[in-house]
């Protein structure tokens, strides 16, 4: 220790300390930093962000601003997360066709790779809900359907209708029908609360329950053959009444006219 202490005033001492500190930092970093693959991910991620930014500039920036900061025509996208982008672009809602009461679902023109790039860019603007993985929204437990049904009737049916057929909201807005919607998109809608919909973050509705709701919606709108015959849209008594009047009573009156027109005529003899 004396040797070290004697040389602490040496002109090169500071340099040696600096070198040692750098080596220690570098060594520690090398030891603890994520492996090569992670480094490649970072590179790919920044590439995706770059690509996403270009796509964003073309397709989205006219309303949301060049940096997603929002404008008078569209909200800020800082903090909406990748799940929002995946939902909005994946269901064709964004880019929006025209302003109106509500942006409708339409044909999606982006590939999933492009959507992921856009999502990466928007996610880089600020932390938000992350696109779910397949395990998160795919249920394997058959009991999930009935549990999801109960949750659906408590949280969703008042707007989306008992069978996920959608319903009216004020002033031309509506809750869309859930028929043919991807499980991932249903999950993302609950995470992010698009348009009129409230969001159901994991703090109010745990992942497990979202997965159950997805299982119920998929089962009800897609998998299940209806036991009673034609569903008439699963819209409740209004369509039933219309059907009853037209095909029930309407046909019966036609039959009555037919019966009345065919009668025994008194023979003239």
């Amino acid at each position: 220790m004396k040797k070290l202490s004697a040389r602490r005033r040496h002109p090169l001492a500071a340099l040696v300390v600096l070198l040692l500190a750098l080596a220690a930092t570098g060594g520690l970093y090398a030891a603890f930093a994520p492996a090569d693959k992670a480094q490649a991910d970072v590179a790919a991620q920044s590439l995706a962000i770059d690509e996403g930014k270009k796509l964003f500039a073309v397709g989205c920036s006219s309303c949301h601003g060049l940096n997603g900061q929002g404008s008078s025509d569209g909200p800020s996208l800082v903090g909406v997360g990748s799940a929002s982008v995946d939902f909005q672009v994946g269901t064709g809602r964004m880019p929006a066709q025209q302003p109106g009461a509500q942006v409708p679902r339409k044909k999606n023109i982006y590939s999933q790779a492009e959507i992921d790039q856009l999502a990466a860019f928007v996610a880089s603007l600020g932390p938000g809900p992350v696109t779910p993985t397949k395990e998160q929204y795919t249920s394997t437990n058959p009991d999930d359907i009935s549990k999801g049904g109960e949750l659906f009737r408590t949280n969703c049916a008042q707007c989306h209708n008992f069978a996920g057929q959608g319903g009216a909201l004020t002033k031309g807005k509506y809750a869309p029908a859930l028929e043919g919607v991807d499980a991932k998109h249903i999950y993302e809608a609950m995470q992010t609360g698009p348009q009129q919909m409230p969001s159901f973050p994991d703090t109010t509705m745990p992942e497990e329950q979202k997965k159950q709701i997805v299982a119920f919606v998929r089962h009800t709108t897609n998998d299940e053959p209806n036991p009673g015959g034609l569903t008439l849209g699963s819209l409740g008594p209004v369509t039933e009444g219309l059907f009853g009047w037209i095909f029930g009573l309407g046909t019966l009156i036609a039959v009555a006219i037919w019966v009345a027109a065919h009668t025994t005529k008194a023979k003239k003899s």
Binding site: Q158, A168, L232, G236, V238, E240, G248
Partner: protein, 552 residues
Amino acid sequence: MSSASSTTSGAAKPASTRAKPANKWEAAADWTDGRLGIYSLAKANLRKIFPDHWSFMLGEICLYTFVIIILTGVYLTLFFKPSMAEVVYNGSYVPLKGIGMSEAYASTVDISFEVRGGLLIRQIHHWAALVFVAAMLVHMMRVFFTGAFRKPREINWVFGFLLLVLGMFDGFFGYSLPDDLLSGTGIRFMEGAILAVPLVGTYVQMFLFGGEFPGHDIVPRFFTIHVLLIPGIMLGLLVAHLILVFYHKHTQWAGPGKTEKNVVGMPLMPVYMAKAGGFFFLVFGLIAAISAIATINPIWAYGPYRPDQVSTDAQPDWYMGFSEGLIRVMPGWEVGLWGHTLNLGVFIPLMIFPLVLVSIAVYPFIEGWITGDKREHHILDRPRNAPVRTALGAAWISLYLVLLVGGGNDLFATHLHLSINSITYFVRVGFFAVPVITFIITKRWCLGLQRRDKEKVLHGRETGVIKRLPHGEFVEVHAQLPQKDLYKLTAHEQIQPVELPAQTDENGVAAKSGLLNRTRAKLSRGFYGGGSQIPKPTSEEHHEITSGHGHH
């Protein structure tokens, strides 16, 4: 053995005036007649004449659907458990597995999925109910527009009206029984309406539900009302309705040989026995086919009722739809009175609901009072020949339809891409404006048709043949109508407005004519005055034109 017994019976009544029965059927008929008097009944009624027209079969549709409802309803009671006890579902329908529900709901799901033919019977029951009430409404409109409610049939009109109202309510109670999410929402709606009644509302609610909503009593109570009380009353009214149809004899359209004192048509036996019997099977077959094709009230999809859950598209069946419309379009007014809340937003619609129904029920009596007509009428009016009546009926229907639009405003919004707010505003204005507009248009329409009839009687029908006269003029050749058509177009009687009693009595002293009399005279002018009917052609006019002096 048989020969021995026949000898005995032959020996037992040698004094009988009747010939010995030819076979055992005649013997059985004799036996029955001796105890029930069926021969005289049959003699009086089997050859009863009924006129033939498709619109006279609307009542038959009501009768047959009612029979179908009773038959299928009995089957359903064998499996339905009217109980609100909690059970956990463990049947074959996966999306309900492990969910807590009432026994009423669980047993209805079991009827749908476990009981053989249960779902089909349920759907027949429900579809038949929808068609039943619709047919009653159309039947009532037929009677209304043809004036078949006039003396002597006013009481039967009221019986029919009561059947309609009871049918509507029994339908509502049936809709409420399965205790699914939709029916529970309907009961909640009804509870809200009861609570909105000032003073007694809360007491009535507590009495009906046996405590706070939903309690455990409402389904069993509704069950008794649905399967016993109302059907029992309806059955009685139905029999009375039919007895009166026999007693009054059926009305008929005007035509050659048809008078107020006869009925022209065909006998019950065998023609109408065959036609009506066949028609029953056509009705049953059609309802069964519809029930096999289309779902009605998929209670399994609604889920069990829980007061904290609700689905959109929660509407009543169509016949209660106008009450839903009244509630939906009424502004949510509330006033505080002496520390109590008066919920006008619900109470006013609740009061208008019976008014809409009663306004059509009392019409025959109002018309009878205005015309002062005490004669019997068995010949039907053509709707155009009673323009004000027809216009009033059309206005009533338009009001009903506007309210139905109000009741389904959310579906009109989503399916026609409209704003639900705009629809609601439209219905608010339309509630007052549409019936008035309908009245004016319908009345003008009727008058136009009357003018057309007059034209046809006097000038014949247009043949489409164009002739050129020697001096170059073109005319269309008109052909005279056959005598029987002329009769149909001119058979109706045109009522003249009542006159006010003389303003002064024989001594020249001013007499009080009374507000009631003045109102009556005014209404009578409105109904039958110059602006409300076109004078029908007289035989002199007809003779004048067809005698050859005219140039047609």
